[in-house]
Symmetry: C2
Subunit: 506 residues, 2 copies
């Protein structure tokens, strides 16, 4: 058994980006496909996404939203209706120009049947959904319109990284229309809070809610709100965004309604989304040098039972005991669903099998041998603790406490991540310290730097440009819970009324 070394090579400290790739491989979450920039999400990774979907979908429905489905393709002219929007997405979109393949002069297949108007594979759906909303909304009685879509989208990224940045990714996009500015703002904030609750309570990933500065806004939005999380390399991950679109898209798509006084008005719209990028966030929040750690509330399987096998008749009572135990565990509820249990009877070395599950991040692993059966007990490993901390427990006691143990793991992961994050947020008030904070001490490890800097800012994009150029640092957000506080901009020395978060980011 690999006890001296770590299961993942390199470790986080040795090479964080490579560690990330290796965890994905070791946990069998996803891999690159032969199609440039597109990933294949493998069963364990997809099951994580299904659990994310299950929980979020319920939260969306509980807040009054309904799912619908809109076309994959967006006519070029639709994208062009909102000037900033098309500027933001034109550079990175897959363009469909033909509708068949036919044999060319040399007998090889070439595109044929040119389209009158090119179609863009949706990078996001404001414009096509806007066109439908314009048909659906006539009167204030038709509002609010609260729609969500689960879909694939394509943004042609040049440099891709599994889950974090891929040409095609899976996401949900909420799109709503309202009769007043206030109601649309309330929706924008409500969904931001839904994302925050999901991130913290299910992903066990602490996040900071805030507003983006103008330079980081969604193309076409009036205001963009976000949740930002700190990864273990102290870089920020934007984990979800909620946009107040004002009347920009309703004017572009002609979403008009008669208000209660009979006056024609443009609707106020919002959009909000999270994607498979969340899985990248989950990996980098909780993973350790032995691989992935999955928060129990999102775990595809909560518990694996590993019978200690000898390949002879003596295995039978062990299998029987494990089978019975699995049945009993499956009857226990955790977080509103029955506990998911695997019994791993595969051939192969016991140590390799245990480690394969550790690398997959399963919350609890039980190694069961003859002696456990004799004492009617189980030998419990918790993924959030070290192998040395495994403990024996009478079977009955384990059954009655298993939900509690899972919830303890869930809470422990959150607390651990929060402690790490909080200890790497620093209030910085001088330019010198700011530059030092973000300059790696070791040139070989450019990724190791300070963390989040909570600083005063003059509100001008010049400062943003400067720190981006010098340090590759951006303002991640203006935190919603920040108290007004007068001070001087950390870079320019000009007046400032509140602190913002500066960080390197994914």
């Amino acid at each position: 058994m690999k006890q001296a070394k770590t299961a993942i090579t390199p470790t986080r400290l040795e090479d964080y980006p490579e560690w990330y790739q290796q965890v994905i491989k070791a946990a069998d979450l996803a891999e690159h496909s032969p199609v440039r920039g597109c990933m294949v999400i493998k069963p364990w990774g997809y099951a994580l996404w299904e659990n994310i979907q299950r929980v979020l979908d319920k939260m969306f429905k509980d807040t009054g939203h309904k799912n619908a489905y809109f076309p994959l393709f967006i006519p070029k002219s639709f994208l062009e209706k909102e000037a900033q929007h098309v500027e933001g997405f034109a550079k990175e979109c897959a363009v469909v120009t033909h509708h068949r393949l036919q044999a060319g002069a040399d007998g090889k297949l070439v595109p044929a049947g040119e389209l009158e108007e090119p179609l863009v594979v949706r990078p996001t759906s404001e414009t096509i959904i806007g066109a439908m909303f314009a048909q659906w909304v006539q009167s204030y009685r038709d509002l609010p319109l609260l729609i969500n879509q689960w879909a694939n989208v394509v943004r042609w990224e040049m440099r891709t990284r599994l889950f974090l940045r891929t040409a095609e990714f899976l996401w949900q996009e909420g799109h709503t229309a309202h009769s007043t500015l206030e109601e649309a703002m309330e929706e924008t904030e409500k969904m931001l809070h839904v994302y925050s609750t999901f991130a913290q309570d299910y992903m066990a990933m602490p996040v900071i809610m805030g507003e983006k500065t103008e330079s980081e806004r969604f193309p076409g939005a009036e205001k963009t709100y976000c949740i930002e999380a700190m990864m273990q390399d102290r870089k920020a991950l934007q984990a979800g965004t909620s946009h107040f679109l004002g009347q920009n898209f309703s004017k572009a798509s002609e979403i008009k309604f008669l208000d209660s006084t009979g006056k024609e008005e443009y609707a106020w719209t919002t959009s909000w989304g999270v994607s498979t990028r969340l899985i990248g966030g989950l990996i980098m929040t909780h993973g350790d040098d032995d691989g992935l750690i999955v928060p129990p509330r999102l775990a595809p399987s909560h518990i694996v039972i590993l019978p200690i096998m000898h390949g002879d008749d003596s295995d039978t009572p062990v299998f029987d005991f494990c089978g019975e135990l699995a049945k009993e565990l499956k009857a226990v509820m955790y977080d509103g669903r029955p506990i998911e249990v695997e019994v791993d009877k595969r051939e192969g070395r016991g140590g390799d099998k245990v480690w394969s599950w550790i690398k997959k991040g399963i919350p609890i692993y039980l190694e069961i041998g003859k002696r456990d059966i004799e004492s009617d007990s189980v030998f419990v490993g918790r993924r959030d603790k070290s192998r040395k901390e495994r403990f024996g427990m009478p079977r009955g006691e384990f059954l009655s406490k298993v939900s509690e143990i899972l919830e303890d793991i869930q809470n422990n992961l959150f607390e651990r991540a929060k402690t790490f994050r909080d200890s790497n947020i620093k209030k910085i008030d001088t330019k010198e310290e700011f530059y030092k904070f973000f300059t790696p001490a070791n040139k070989d490890k450019p990724e190791v730097h300070g963390g989040f800097a909570l600083c005063h800012w003059n509100g001008k994009s010049g400062v943003e440009e400067q720190v981006k150029k010098d340090l590759n640092v951006t303002i991640r957000c203006i935190p919603l819970d920040g108290e007004p506080e007068s001070g001087k901009c950390v870079i320019s020395g000009e007046d400032s009324v509140r602190r913002v978060i500066f960080a390197k980011s994914y």
Copy 2:
């Protein structure tokens, strides 16, 4: 209230294709989008699809399959690997040729960044999934590989019809690899039976399982099995297919493994799928001249409660009673999930509101007024029966019987559809009768014809071509439960060993 007339104009008898469009509109299921051939699935239609997904997904998982996700795009060269496959799909595929838009000479945006190799938007994923399987499979220990994908696919159809034939549609595609021919055949048949069970037990849609003739096979398959249902215009709808792909795709994609003796072999593969087309089948199996009828097991909502409103203080006790009733109903389980209930307090004429729900096909509608409250009873309408058959029932009794009533509706829908289908299947043994059976009596109603003809066939494609040309009739399938029976081909008079199903089809 529209009691004399039907809620849908035209009726099924007057104009079946137009009736179909009008039912979709009246039930607010879907509509055409501004993107050629692509539909928008609206909340009530999408909720049907979600329920279809929920049930099928469980059936797939219970038979050992895991979900995964593969790229939307397929390189042209992948499609070309299997000769029949590319021939089948090249004529109708969306081709991505560029990866950005940029301003042309006149300032308008034009496609730019031409791809080295065109990408096809997946019409189906055998080739891209095959490429991944080739990497994942090394030894017989890696088999069987049992994967399913829920995805959107694109087939550039020239003539489209909502749900039945659209350029983009939603589906699931199962893809499996096995070490032996027998096991792959067993899988092909197993999934066909899963589809049949789903269609009959959940959609309440009777189906015939059978094998397709060579001319109707999936491009690249060795054998294609299908479930065929009869719509109310007596045309056939292919509702699901399961393909035995032999070693065709494993040879094209190099899916090879070492068997237990160390010999290298090509894997045997299968694929199987159903799509949003099922919703078209549901509409045309159960819908009547008042609109959609949704089988309770797939209903987005089972029951709507309609308080009889006067727009004054007298509404309060009615709302209270209805709210309490809704809460009680939601605590009742039906088919493994809590009953879904809507309380419709919208303004507007009571009659219009009832009819809006009838058109949506909700299984049970309750109209509740002051007198019902006084007698502590409910006034029940069943969507599978006429308005005249509404009945009162003490509230307590209704609560204890509601699951039973829902299941009775489910069974009634199935029996009704089965009786209709069976009464329109005819054994035909002469060419004259065959032509008469499929020739509309009334030229103005070309869709009204005989139904399914169960006939002897010589096994040759010449007969298929002839009846397709003369009558637009094809062999829908060679039924799996057909008994061997010697006879003479109904068209050619040549020897035949069993009957097949001829029909017009969607």
